[in-house]
């Protein structure tokens, strides 16, 4: 059992989107490579098409319809024609020999340039044998290349479903450290855990000691595990001169089962009402942080 989803439907859908975004020359190139690969099954054909895609398909942005996007296991926002081709091309690999399949994909990672890495990490949710890519994903999180990190962290359901807790926590921490839009991490609330809350709280203390700002989204992951220690910080935030920090404090209290935090929230009934009406959410906080410029 290789794939954990209906890969044929997905492949057909991706092909359909690709065909809307290729020139005649690009379409011919794709057709030729596919035929060549199906007839010869030569690895050099597979690798070369993967690498050479931008030369023939270009790098123009592509768009999926709402219906297409809803039916796909990957989020195509920000995709270009070459990247779309690459994730579809990966689905052309046979999965009958697990060891070989993994070796071929690992070799693509080894020789990958930046955009290839982005395509490969973004394709994680599409790959067969999902359990086989955990170490690879953890390795990718160690990258220092911004868009490679984004391909793993943002809009990508693979990490939340597959990483163990230490690797997951590293992903979230690295997202804060590299100032990524954390709210776009899939499974952020579902994978929240006390250990991560403790590390983030320590991190916020370091930032404060250095007179550096603390990202308000951090409190989203601290809130559900608030106890005496973290509560001091929330009280401080509650009195912040920044609106967005006071909102973050209210949201953290709302997510908490800690008595004093619940009581604190009662002191600002208007914020509590906004939260309960769904008008104030972490999404609105995220939006405000991004717009604060």
């Amino acid at each position: 059992m290789g794939y954990v989803y209906d890969e044929q439907t997905t492949a057909a859908l991706l092909r359909q989107i690709i065909s809307r975004h290729t020139t005649e020359r690009g379409a011919q190139w794709l057709e030729d490579r596919l035929t060549e690969w199906q007839q010869q099954q030569a690895l050099s054909v597979f690798n070369m098409a993967f690498a050479a895609a931008p030369r023939f398909l270009g790098r123009e942005p592509v768009a999926a319809t709402l219906a297409e996007q809803a039916a796909l296991p990957v989020h195509l926002e920000g995709y270009t024609a070459d990247r779309l081709f690459r994730i579809w091309w990966l689905l052309q690999l046979p999965v009958n020999d697990k060891k070989k399949y993994i070796e071929i994909i690992e070799n693509l990672f080894h020789a990958a340039e930046m955009n290839e890495l982005v395509a490969l990490y973004g394709a994680l949710p599409l790959l067969a044998f999902p359990e086989a890519w955990r170490l690879r994903t953890a390795e990718g999180i160690r990258s220092n290349i911004g868009n490679v990190l984004e391909a793993i962290m943002l809009h990508n359901p693979y990490p939340a479903s597959n990483l163990d807790q230490p690797a997951w926590n590293q992903l979230v921490l690295k997202a804060f450290f590299t100032e990524k839009p954390v709210h776009l991490i899939v499974g952020l609330d579902r994978r929240a855990n006390p250990e991560l809350a403790r590390i983030l709280l320590d991190y916020s203390h370091e930032r404060r000691a250095a007179s550096r700002p603390v990202h308000p989204m951090l409190w989203r992951l601290v809130g559900p595990f608030l106890e005496e220690t973290g509560f001091e910080d929330i009280e401080r935030l509650w009195l912040s001169e920044y609106n967005v920090e006071r909102e973050a404090a209210a949201l953290a209290c709302h997510a908490s089962g800690y008595g004093p935090a619940r009581e604190l929230l009662e002191k600002r009934p208007e914020l509590k009402a906004e939260i309960e009406a769904g008008q104030l959410t972490w999404e609105t906080v995220a939006h405000r942080v991004n717009m604060a410029n």
């Binding site: 050099s44 690798n47 070369m48 690498a51 050479a52 931008p54 030369r55 790098r59 070459d82 080894h110 020789a111 990958a112 340039e113 930046m114 955009n115 290839e116 890495l117 220092n144 290349i145 911004g146 868009n147 990190l149 984004e150 590299t178 100032e179 990524k180 839009p181 550096r212 700002p213 990202h215 942080v289 991004n290 604060a292 410029n293």
Partner: protein
């Protein structure tokens, strides 16, 4: 490398801050088609961006000591299309590279065989604008063997070739490099002969090749000599680069040479040809250079700024105040 020249007290004194040349070239854009950024610091990237360098080509070369295994070659090539490209983009500079086995290391036959095997994996990658820098160093039989093998690779892939010409026995080495390229059926218009000087330029141009000049203190060309070359030979198929690396070299050689040319009466249009346009024309034959990308890499930098000036996202590098004793 430097250091064969006589150093005087003046050479050793710290340089005065004098960015006057920046005024002369304000608003101009430059393309440095030969620079080894792997060996340079972030200060260089910032200074280059400030001086108008919009895009660069980093040829694969010798790292200063011989490699002992194919994996270090693989990682090096991979860093040219990966980490270094990203690092460059953080400063708003579009980074391309040429991939090849350099002449010095071609003398290790066992290793060269393994390197030749992995080269096809890299030459088709996005942003690879040629095979380079390849050619002769000591002019040995093994150097010739792998030079030929790589010319064939370039011919099959339809890629330009960036030729390194030797320091020692330069004139003959340059002639021999061109002879072999012609003999193997390469179009001279697809071949950029690098590190020219007053002695080699005429033949290179007469035979239809591109002539690149490296402005590199002490050992290669100085830019006053470069001005005279352009006055004598014009601008057709001539380009200037810095070849800045781990030696005493200058990553601003291209903008500085442009400023000097203007000062000495060469027209702005001609300066633009030898410091920007010609290199693009030559290497764009790879199909891998899109000038719109030069601006895109700069736009990305700006738009990645988020949450005011204190927080930067991914792409952009903050600028510390270098004159201050305080580091925050």
């Amino acid at each position: 490398m430097c250091c064969s020249a006589q150093l005087t007290e003046k050479d050793l004194a710290p340089e005065a801050m004098n960015p006057a040349y920046l005024d002369a070239i304000k608003g101009m854009r430059f393309f440095d088609p030969h620079i080894h950024m792997t060996s340079r610091t972030t200060d260089d990237y910032q200074a280059m961006a400030d001086a108008g360098v919009a895009a660069i080509i980093e040829p694969a070369f010798w790292l200063g000591q011989p490699r002992t295994g194919v994996d270090t070659f693989r990682d090096y090539y991979s860093s040219l299309v990966g980490w270094e490209r990203f690092r460059s983009s953080q400063f708003g500079i579009k980074h391309y590279c040429t991939i090849g086995l350099n002449s010095k290391e071609a003398n290790n036959e066992k290793l060269s065989e393994q390197v030749m095997e992995i080269l096809p994996l890299f030459i088709y990658k996005e942003g690879v604008v040629g095979i380079g820098e390849i050619g002769f160093d000591d002019q040995t039989a093994l150097e010739e063997k792998y030079y030929r093998a790589q010319l064939q690779l370039a011919k099959d892939a339809g890629l330009p070739v960036q030729i390194h010409t030797p320091h020692r026995d330069k004139k003959q080495g340059t002639q021999r490099s061109m002879d072999i390229a012609v003999e193997m059926g390469l179009d001279p218009y697809m071949v950029i002969v690098d590190h020219n000087n007053e002695e080699t330029v005429k033949e290179v141009l007469d035979r239809g090749f591109w002539a690149a000049f490296t402005i590199y203190p002490f050992t290669k060309m100085g830019n006053e000599r470069m001005v005279e070359i352009v006055k004598q030979y014009g601008t057709e198929r001539i380009m200037v680069n810095s070849a800045a690396d781990w030696g005493i070299s200058d990553p601003l050689a291209v903008p500085k040479t442009a400023a000097l040319m203007l000062e000495r009466g060469i027209s702005r249009a001609d300066v633009e040809l030898v410091t920007y346009r010609n290199a693009i024309t030559a290497f764009a034959q790879s199909g891998q250079i899109n000038e719109a990308d030069f601006e895109r890499v700069q736009e990305i930098d700006q738009s990645l700024k988020y949450n005011g000036s204190t927080i930067l996202r991914g792409g952009q590098q903050p600028r510390p105040n270098k004159q201050s004793t305080i580091i925050r």
